[in-house]
């Protein structure tokens, strides 16, 4: 059982003209076994929400709270949050030249589990995870994300999700830039994760397309740094038909 609870979260970034408020009070509760989709137009603050939960230093929390199973996430360092069970699949995964995928995965797994994985099963697990995401086993030897195509980067994120096995996964536009085959492969990966006991997923997306493969329990419309409307899966259908216009016109 795990619960990610976001309460009245307010976040700003530093700009040349002083701090700029981006999240204006976000409240969301993701219980274990639940998948929540957050949909919203460009610039509405979706990535800001994801990065703030993960602890990116660029963002300043100005109010509200985030807890995971009652623990204060905002008081934790970035790596403590990950070890506590949070995982962020990034919209733009970062290249780390000279660090092989194999080294990276083993280091991360060791950090999260607090002990090195058993060598024999681990190599098999890694190759299996890569293979299921249609990544050639030669990816193990390549530098992290360096020279990966956009789609390969996203599939690599989901391979990490499966291997690191967090409690709650935040997926920031994992679907964007994927062709339909890659979208299916990625969705299957996320669904395999969801089938595990008690996992929560916060799926951030721009398009309803991925929701045909990953059925959300709840859908939230995100506009101008807040949740403008929440509902069941049917809300996605409404967005598919009508877009965000009705929300934008009421926004100041």
């Amino acid at each position: 059982m795990s619960t990610l609870q976001i309460t009245d979260l307010q976040v700003s970034v530093d700009t040349e003209d002083g701090p700029k408020e981006i999240l204006k009070g976000v409240t969301l509760t993701i219980d274990s076994g639940e998948t929540h989709a957050i949909m919203g137009p460009n610039g509405s603050g979706k990535s800001t929400l994801a990065y703030s939960i993960a602890g990116h230093p660029k963002y300043t929390i100005t109010g509200g709270s985030v807890t995971l199973d009652g623990e204060d996430v905002l008081a934790m360092s970035v790596d403590e949050r990950a070890r506590a069970g949070l995982f962020l699949a990034m919209q733009y995964p970062v290249e780390v030249p000279g660090v092989s995928v194999a080294n990276f995965l083993r280091t991360a797994k060791t950090a999260i589990d607090g002990e090195a994985p058993k060598l024999r099963t681990w190599v098999k697990d890694v190759n299996g995870a890569l293979e299921k995401l249609n990544l050639d086993s030669s990816f193990s030897a390549r530098s992290v994300n360096e020279g990966f195509s956009g789609g390969e980067k996203k599939r690599h994120e989901i391979a990490q999700l499966e291997l690191l096995d967090p409690k709650v996964a935040i997926l920031d536009e994992t679907d964007s830039g994927l062709d339909i085959d890659a979208l299916k492969v990625v969705s299957e990966g996320v669904n395999r994760f969801r089938e595990r006991e008690g996992k929560g997923v916060l799926l951030i997306t721009h398009y309803t397309r991925i929701l045909r493969y990953i059925q959300p329990d709840r859908v939230h419309v995100f506009v101008d740094g807040k949740v403008a409307e929440s509902g069941g899966p049917e809300l996605a259908d409404k967005l598919e038909a009508e877009g965000y216009e009705s929300y934008l016109s009421v926004a100041p």
Binding site: V78, D79, A82, V94, G98, N103
Partner: protein
């Protein structure tokens, strides 16, 4: 990290400036009188902390027992000694600074290493030099790689003292020679050195410099060609801690057509007054049509109080070339890389170590000598463990 110039820009800008007499045409001479004691204002000395050279530039013979010499690998390739002017001594190296002239002058017997024509050596050969504290030494080594031979020569410097060393390399036509120079000195050592290679027709020369230790280490690694088709690769890796001055000067003189050069130096700096200097000089002479050159220097600055100077300098006298470019960048840790690693549970310290490891790994992979690669990886890990750990950056 930014690339300061791509190939085309570099060529274009170099062609725009009128050709002026520059330090790329140094005065080469065995006569010490042609190399007066520098004041520090000279172009070739302006980065060097002359006061800390501890007599390295004084005209006085070295001390006895200043250097303990061990042979690495098969000693049968060390064939004897060479007096000044005794061929092939002087075939490649004519001193172009005072330190080099002194090493010639005060090393009447140069060590002669000769790899016979067509010989292919599977194991590295070389010398390990251990300097004695408070003593001055001079050394001149001549390495001759016969035509179509293949070999690796390792020069391993450790210990203490003040050392002026010349390495003179003659790479025969079609030969493939790798020279590795390790500067693993104690923290108080002073080392000034010139490595000059002449690369034969269709020959391949690789020079790998690794500097981890010493108070002041200044090496000038130069290459010129004896005919067309020669290929030179100059790689360097350094890690300067507090108070250390590591200066790597490179000069590739493309004096023959269709020759190639590739220079890649990478360094990390940390601690108060850690200082590195990289000078990458490339001269493309009028005759050097169809050549290809690229040089790159990257520095990673780990703490405040360090300084990395990086000066690429491309002088082009002909536009009829395949390509010429350079890149130079000095950066701090990339916050996005650290965030990415930490978001996977990896601690701040371990993330820094991974990024640094990766920074050097790119270069270490290029070396192509498995044993040395392993040693270097271990040495880098060692530096990182010693220095990055326990220090809140």
């Amino acid at each position: 990290m930014t690339v300061t110039a791509d190939a085309r820009d570099a060529v274009a800008s170099a062609l725009e400036v009128d050709h002026v007499e520059s330090h790329l045409h140094p005065v080469s001479s065995f006569d010490l009188a042609d190399h007066p004691m520098p004041t520090g204002r000279e172009e070739i000395w302006r980065f060097t902390p002359l006061k800390r050279l501890a007599g390295a530039l004084d005209d006085a013979p070295g001390d006895t027992d200043a250097l303990t010499v061990e042979t690495i690998g098969d000693a049968s390739y060390v064939v004897g000694t060479l007096a000044p002017g005794q061929h092939p001594r002087g075939a490649s190296l004519v001193p172009d600074d005072r330190a080099s002239a002194l090493a010639c002058l005060h090393a009447p017997e140069a060590v002669h290493v000769r790899v016979p024509a067509d010989a292919e050596l599977d194991e590295p050969i070389g010398h390990r030099l251990t300097g004695a504290a408070g003593k001055r030494s001079h050394r001149h080594t001549v390495i001759e790689a016969g035509t179509h031979s293949r070999a690796t020569y390792v020069l391993d410097h450790r210990g203490s003292g003040v050392h002026a060393g010349n390495v003179e390399v003659v790479v025969g036509d079609g030969a493939d020679l790798t020279v590795v120079t390790l500067q693993d000195w104690d923290d108080d050592a002073v080392h000034v050195g010139t490595h000059e290679a002449v690369v034969g027709r269709d020959a391949r020369y690789r020079h790998i410099a690794v500097t981890f230790g010493g108070s002041v280490v200044r090496t000038s690694s130069n290459v010129h060609y004896a005919g067309p088709g020669g290929d030179a690769e100059l790689l360097g890796l350094y890690f300067a801690d507090a108070g250390q001055h590591f200066e790597h000067r490179l000069f590739v003189d493309h004096n023959a057509p269709r020759t190639k050069s590739n220079v890649v130096y990478k360094g990390a700096l940390q601690g108060e007054r850690a200082r590195t200097v990289w000078i990458g000089n490339v001269l493309i002479r009028k005759v050097a049509e169809g050549i290809e050159t690229y040089e790159e220097n990257r520095n990673l600055v780990l703490t405040d109080g360090c300084q990395a100077d990086s000066v690429p300098n491309l002088e082009i006298e002909t536009g009829e070339i395949e390509g010429a470019g350079h890149a130079s960048a000095t950066a701090r840790f990339d916050d996005e890389q650290l965030f990415y690693l930490r978001s996977r549970g990896v601690s701040d310290e371990e993330s820094r170590r991974l990024v640094l490891h990766g920074f050097f790994q790119d270069l270490i992979r290029k070396i192509g000598l498995p044993e040395l690669e392993e040693k270097l990886t271990a040495a880098v890990e060692d530096e990182l463990a010693r220095n990055v750990a326990g220090k809140q950056l």
